[in-house]
Symmetry: C2
Subunit: 225 residues, 2 copies
């Protein structure tokens, strides 16, 4: 059974809270987990992500930018089948993007296509959301394509922008949602329930079924009370 | 009391389902309604909006495009204090935009700043949302500024895009939400609870307080079951 199990690499530049969420989710699925966390890579030697991985006895490899070109080689050494980017700020080499077509995921902290593109990462995204006066934001999980932040969207989930939000408070609330949505998407893709079709569209998307304006319960109304 | 009541003009080009929702909402508020529906204008003589208004004994005035420049005059004749655009496809004369600064609202069927701008109206908006593969959309109510679709955002509300959605099915679901959000915003603005600040930001915004990832009830989780 484990032989058919996907081998997941998580690439992270920061503290790795999404890595933690992915690890915890796979752990909770226990023997039914569709993937094994097989490798953690960071371009920053001091990244908390590497420390977490080491604690779990998961191979944790620092890959400084001058070694970035060797990413594909590193992934091959560890028999990696799927990649999850978790706040990885380094550009993924083109050969890796091609090799992992439909098997590399990323999470962006806004509702793409809005607030994405070059320079839009971390706090900058939430600053832009607040500047625009948007009232709804939220994370986007998508397949990674040659054009970053332009891959096919797997899932999005709304997060309200509150009148008293700062970029930091908004970032924290969106991140908390990423920790729920991203592991779910990774499990669904590694299990083959969701895939990238030949036509570039996502197959077997999650079924959303919520109606925030259902007459009952009344408290679901945004402006109630 | 009625002397202090706002006098609302609704400008519509189509059937007027948002006009109906606004009329019903003001009616439901009865003597506590902060505004009176005082005028309905349409650039299309055959617009259902005019028929509805006539049925309610509300002044219903067709304003063909060659008379568009006379809009300000018409509004003055009817002592209009506030304007709600409801699918009005005609450009609002600059003098009217200036005169009704902070007192003119519009509703757009997507989450601005995404899927807005020139040519983005009606079905085209939903076609673009589907093409982009967005999973969350929804209406935006905003103050109207010189740059259309660029006014300060008063409210947005998320609507899920379903895997089997067509532009038509999505449009219907977003419209149903507009019918809830738009009248609420109009009442809040005409009552003075929400206003456009001198700094161009919205004052006294609706307090959103929903957490779709609240652990309970479980069924709120998008991927449950």
């Amino acid at each position: 059974m484990t032989s058919s199990r996907a081998r997941l690499a998580v690439l992270a530049s920061g503290g790795g809270s999404n890595l933690q969420a992915i690890h915890d989710d796979l752990g909770a699925r226990a023997h039914e987990a569709p993937a094994t966390l097989a490798l953690v890579v960071s371009d920053r030697i001091s990244a908390g992500a590497l420390t977490r991985a080491a604690d779990w006895q998961v191979p944790a490899v620092p890959l400084p930018k001058e070694r970035n070109h060797a990413l594909g080689e590193l992934l091959a050494e560890h028999d990696i089948t799927h990649i999850a980017l978790a706040g990885y700020l380094r550009l993924i080499p083109a050969d890796v993007v091609r090799a992992f077509h439909g098997r590399m995921l990323n999470v962006h902290p806004a509702l793409l296509p809005a607030f994405g593109g070059p320079g839009m990462y971390g706090q900058r995204v939430h600053d832009a959301v607040l500047r625009a006066g948007a009232r709804i934001t939220g994370p986007t999980v998508h397949f990674v394509s040659e054009h970053f932040d332009e891959g096919a969207i797997i899932a999005q989930w709304p997060v309200p922008v509150r009148s008293d939000d700062s970029a930091a408070s908004l970032a924290a609330r969106v991140l908390a949602v990423e920790h729920r949505v991203y592991p779910w998407c990774i499990a669904a893709v590694t299990a083959g329930q969701i895939s990238l079709g030949a036509d570039g569209t996502v197959q077997g998307r999650p079924a959303y079924d919520f109606d925030l304006f259902a007459p009952e319960p009344r408290h679901r109304h945004p402006f109630a009370g």
